[in-house]
Symmetry: C2
Subunit: 406 residues, 2 copies
Amino acid sequence: MLPIDPQRMLADLRALAEFGKLGTGVNRRSLTPEDLAARDWLLERMRAAGLDAQIDGIGSVAGRTPGSRRHILIGSHTDSVPKGGWLDGSMGVIFGLEIARAYVEAGRSDDAGVEVISFIDEEGRFAGLMGSAAFTGKVTESDFGKLTDERGQKLESALQAAGYAGRELLRCEPERHAAYLEAHIEQGPVLETAGKQIGLVTDIVGVARCEVVFTGQADHAGTTPMELRRDAAAALYAFADDLARFCREEGSDRTVWNLGIAAMDPGAYNVVTRQARLGVEYRDPSEAVLDRIRRYIGESAKRVAKRHRVSAQVVAGAGIRPNPMDESILSHLEEAAADLGASSMRMPSGAGHDATMLAPLIPSAMMFVPSIGGRSHDISEDTREEDIVLGLKVLARAVERIIAPA
Amino acid sequence: MLPIDPQRMLADLRALAEFGKLGTGVNRRSLTPEDLAARDWLLERMRAAGLDAQIDGIGSVAGRTPGSRRHILIGSHTDSVPKGGWLDGSMGVIFGLEIARAYVEAGRSDDAGVEVISFIDEEGRFAGLMGSAAFTGKVTESDFGKLTDERGQKLESALQAAGYAGRELLRCEPERHAAYLEAHIEQGPVLETAGKQIGLVTDIVGVARCEVVFTGQADHAGTTPMELRRDAAAALYAFADDLARFCREEGSDRTVWNLGIAAMDPGAYNVVTRQARLGVEYRDPSEAVLDRIRRYIGESAKRVAKRHRVSAQVVAGAGIRPNPMDESILSHLEEAAADLGASSMRMPSGAGHDATMLAPLIPSAMMFVPSIGGRSHDISEDTREEDIVLGLKVLARAVERIIAPA
C-alpha cells in the first residue's frame, strides 16, 4: 500500500486555500497574483516531495516521481472561478501530490511512476480547459496571441508578466503517460441524494451553445393590431417553451438544457419588441443527441419566426464534444472503492473537466466526491472531510492497482 | 362656415415644430427649455388671435374666444416623447387655435364660443396625462410634491424654474365647457390599411400593466438534474406563451397585449436562472375583459410557478380605465366628414389620450388622421399634408354643427 497521509493532504489543501482566500472560498482566477503565488507554492511542495517539477510556458505545473519509464498522470486544476470554492480542482491536484509523495517515500520504482499536474485556466479566464488543451496540442503557441480575458487583457502579456513566456510547453506523451486520473467534487446533488460516497464517471457530457436571434419591428403596443405586429419577444417565448418540450420529450434521459439569457430590444411595456435574443445551452453524452437538438433548433426557429412574421438567426457558440471515460481505468476505481468498503455509483459528468481533453489520447477516468447541497462555483461549496479523505484513499488504491496489478 | 385658413394652420404647425426640432421630428419633453419656449410662443399666438389666454400653475396653456357664456373645448398636447414626431398632440392644439382664430375673425358671438387648450405632459415625463388629470381634478397641488421624472428631477422644481409655480390651475367647468374635441394622428396603420381619411374614435381603450416575477434558485446548468431545478426562466417562457394564447383565445377581438420586458438574473448560459421578471401590458375597451385577463394572470402565474417549483409574484402597475366617447359629438364628427365628402370609419383608440380624462366629465370625442406607415413616437412620424388639412376642415365643420345646429 502506498503510505498516503490524509492529514498531510488536508493540511496542503488548507494551505492552498489561503491563496486568494475569500471567506470560506477562494478568488483565484488563472494568472492573477494569487494564482501565480499558488503555482510557486505548488512547485515548491512538489520539489520538497522529491519530484522532478516545473512550470511550463502557459503556467501548468507538473512534477513526476524520478526513475520510472512511464507515469500515471494524476491531476486537475488550481485556478478558480471568481468567488469560487476551495476544493474545485484543487482537491484533485493535492490528491496527486500526496500519492506521488507517498510513492517517493515508499522508495518504489515500478515501471510506471506517478506524475501530478495542475492544468492552468480550466475555468476559462482566457479559454476553458486551456491548460489541458495546450497539453494535448489543441491549443498551441500560435494561438496565444488571439486569447484575451473578458476585459481585453492579453494572455501573452499575462504570461510575460508571470515570467512563463518562452518556456517549453508540457505535452501529453501517450507512450509515457500510461493513464490519466482526475478526482473532483461532484458539483451537483446526485451523490448526496443517492447517499453514495464515490461517483465513478462514465463519461463527460458534450456541451453545445447557440444564440437564437429573432428580429421583427418595433411598433406602438396599443395602436398596432395584433395581426400586423412583428413581435420578436412573442417568437422567443414560443420558441423557448417549445424547445424545452422537445428536449424533455425527444432528448435522452441524460439531456439537460438551460435557456438562461433573454434580452429584449427596446424592452418597454408599450413598444412591440424589435429584437429578442435567447442564449441556449444543452448537454448530452451522445453526439447524436446533440446533433438532433441542434437540427431541431434550426427548424423550430424558422417555423416559429414564420408564424410570428419575424426573421430568425441561429449563431453557433463554442462547444465541447462528449467523451466517454476509459472502462478499464474506471473498473480499477470501482474495485478500489469496493476494496475500501466505500459505496459508489456510476454517473456521467454534466460539467466539463480537463479529463475531456486527455480522454482521446490516453486511457482516462474521473471520480467524484459528494458536494454538500450540490453547491459549486460559489464560496459556499464544500465537502465533508471524511468524504475527502475517502476519496484520496480510493484514488491511491486505484493507482496501486494500475501500477502493480495483483 | 368658420373662415379657417389651412395654410395659416400649416405655417403655425411648422413654426411649432422648430421648438426642439430634431431632424424630421421634435425632442420636446414637458417643462424642458424647448417645451417652455413653445408654450410662450403658443400663448402669444393665442393672444394675437384675440383669445383670452393664460398658462396655468402646472403649465397647461388655454385661450378662449371672448364674449360667450359657454365654450367648446378643443385641444391636445404640445409636449413630445424623447425623439418624437412633429404632429403627435401638436396637430390637435393648432387645429383648435385655427378654429378659435377663425371664430374671432368671423365676429361670431354664439352662446358657445371656442376654447383651445394644450394640456401639459401628456407623454408622462412626470405622469402620463398629467395636464388633463390636473384639469379634471385627478391630480391636485397636493400631489405635485410626489412627482419626479425618471432621473429624479422634481415637478415642483421644474414648475418653480418655469415661473408657473403658485399660479391657479385651469379647471374643467362642466357648466361652461359644452364639449371636448380632440384631433390626433392615428399612431397606427388602420386608416392607411383601410384607405380611409378620418377615424371616428368610439372609445379609448383601458390599459393595464403588471410585472410578473418568478423566483427560483441559481444552480450549475450542467450538473443539476432537470427534475431538481427551480428554473425561473423556464417558468417565464411557459407563462408568457400561455398568456399570449389566453389573450388570443379568451380576450375580445379588440384585446391587444405586449410582453416587451424580460430580465433574467444572473443571465448566463451555464447558470440556472434564479429570478425572471416579465413586463406585461394589455389593453381593451371593456373593464370586464381587463379584469378577466388580470385574474388569469394571477391564476396562471401561480399554476406555472408550482409546476416549475418556483415562486411567483404579480406586482400591479399603473393603469388607465377604458372610456367610451360621446355618441352625440361623435355623430357630429361623422356627419361633418360626410358633409365634406371625406371617407371615414369608426374605430377605437388603442393609445391613451387626454380625452380619456375629459370623457367622464363632459361630452368628449376624438378624430384621427392617418399616420404614414402607422409610425409614431419616432421622428419618422408623419401625415400627408392633404390629410392634415382635411382633418382641420372636418373638425371645424363639426364645431360649427355643435355651436349652431342647422
